[in-house]
Symmetry: C2
Subunit: 294 residues, 2 copies
């Protein structure tokens, strides 16, 4: 059986990149030859020890010259930089994709470097953990998780179909949407919750010493679950916050107004507003449970 | 063996109250006779079906007349109301306690009704789930969870020792602290996280229809874990928010300032501040893990 692509090159074998490689190892229908690229010799050594790919190198330009599909798995702020460096060296007819968590800024950043003979088919797998690096990945990370496709550029229907089959082979469910919509959804379901979780940890960290110590002792009462997502990588999240700035700040603004309204209701003993707000919150939770998402 | 008390009376056999009764059923060292009081005949029927106590009644004043220990397990706004109704009917020498999640307002509300011959020994078990009612309780709810004692009133050392033994028999670990400290800790570890979780659900609920539907589809990317605690009971939380108003609004204010500082950093491309904030947040998470709380 002919695999989807002959040679798959993953740049950035961290949590997401190494999960793609691990899955490709298990599913021979994906690619015949696997290449992993990392700028750091130690990470390359680690990737070798984990046997993540057939070829592991620091030399991105040489690696992409032989690849039929190049997947950029680096922080969103770096995606255009790496794209600029590798695109001139890619094979005509190859496919370029990236897994970045934001779309608007990545598309804008990458567009000047695109070539008419390279299909750019971005797809964001909505899967992850709070861990990072090549050891953190696993082959089932994308199983039953959504992968959001935004409009492709310079791509034939075949190239798009190849990427759809690729993410299906990763175990993901597919959805197509436009860039602005993608960035708004991610702002509310992922980026704002992360920002708030980082922030409340920070607030707790600035409390007087005794109180701060007790936050740690008594965290089980809500704080703990609320902040689990705050263990994630700082550079990745810095980039996401900066590169989805507009949608994120808009959602934060709405949220801050809602929090302020709640504070006012508490200050003014406005029981009806408080109960209504809590009830609405619970409705969303109930819908999540019905949706089998909770 | 003589049990800790002869007759234990729980008023409000909901999540917390029914968990106390279930544990007392399993540990004969706690009480010889169990009484449950609920204002609602249907809840009494349900408590009977669950065999939660030896005597189940709607008549609180008759029930407390025979009790050596009365545990108020009703929402914090109602605790002083119920206390006012029952204290005149309690036996001299009996112990009164409540499990309310706030302390300042409860102590203030209950003090006018206290009697010199009744020991008031409040203790707040920091354990719960997002479910409520008599079916939600279970005997191990308090196992290895903290129970926070605030200063007792009109209480002999023996009465305090009885309540300590009581909560140890429930499986809890004990801590003593003053009222203001209790309310601040709970504001940051529990009440603020709940307020923020309710609020973000509310924000999501007010989004345009299409976006709102997709929040439900894509909730796995952070939103879901972040909002799990938002399924809790509206009346209980309305009361907690109103009755821990001062400490809660102070923590919310600090949090809002921190969130605003993060928004400013994002707006101004201030990478150092963003990374520092995320790093501090992660430090708290790491400490939780070292503390075996995560
Ligand atoms: N984690 C999630 O929840 C999640 C979910 C969906 C999408 N994503 C997106 O997936 C991408 C990767 O995230 P991840 O979680 O896999 O991160 P990760 O585990 O930290 O891996 C990041 C990879 O990018 C490389 N890298 C970082 N900076 C670089 C630079 N300046 N030049 C070249 N390579 C660089 C790293 O190399 P070194 O090891 O040498 O530093 C590493 O191989 C990001 O765009 C992220 O937004 C993440
Ligand atoms: N859930 C937690 O996480 C948690 C943790 C620690 C402490 N607490 C505290 O424990 C107490 C009980 O909470 P819970 O979670 O057990 O709540 P719950 O399951 O909703 O039970 C509340 C009980 O209070 C009764 N009640 C409500 N309003 C009343 C009124 N006006 N007059 C008389 N009885 C009334 C209810 O009776 P009906 O069934 O007839 O309405 C029910 O038996 C609250 O003070 C709460 O702050 C809760």
């Amino acid at each position: 059986m002919k695999p989807l692509v002959e040679t798959l090159c993953v740049i950035g074998p961290g949590l997401i990149g190494s999960s793609i490689l691990r899955r490709a190892r298990l599913e021979p229908s994906i690619a015949r030859h696997l290449i992993a690229v990392d700028r750091d010799a130690h990470v390359c050594d680690r990737a070798r020890a984990l046997n993540l790919a057939d070829e592991i190198t620091q030399d991105a330009t040489a690696a992409v010259a032989n690849a039929d599909l190049v997947v950029l798995c680096v922080p969103v702020g770096v995606i255009p930089v790496v794209a600029a460096a590798i695109i001139p060296h890619m094979k005509a007819g190859a496919i370029l994709t990236d897994v970045g968590s934001t779309r608007g800024s990545v598309v804008e950043g990458i567009t000047p470097y695109l070539r008419p003979d390279i299909a750019y088919v971005p797809a964001h797998p909505m899967a992850g953990t709070e861990h990072s690096g090549p050891d953190a990945g696993f082959a089932t990370l994308f199983e039953n998780r959504w992968c959001l496709f935004t409009p492709a550029m310079n791509a034939s229907p075949e190239a798009i179909a190849t990427m759809e089959a690729f993410w299906q082979a990763m175990g993901a469910r597919l959805r197509h949407m436009d860039v602005a919509h993608h960035d708004k959804i991610c702002a509310i379901v992922s980026h704002l919750p992360h920002l708030l979780a980082f922030t409340i940890c920070n607030t707790a960290d600035t409390l007087a010493d005794e109180l701060r110590a007790e936050v740690l002792d008594f965290a089980a009462s809500g704080f703990r679950d609320f902040t689990r997502i705050a263990a994630s990588d700082p550079i990745m999240w810095r980039d996401i916050f900066l590169h989805n700035r507009e949608a994120l700040l808009e959602m934060l603004d709405r949220f801050s107004q809602d929090a302020q309204a709640m504070a006012d209701a508490i200050r003014q003993d406005d029981e009806a507003t408080i109960v209504r707000t809590i009830e609405r919150g619970r409705r969303i939770r109930r819908n999540l449970i019905e949706n089998k998402q909770a």
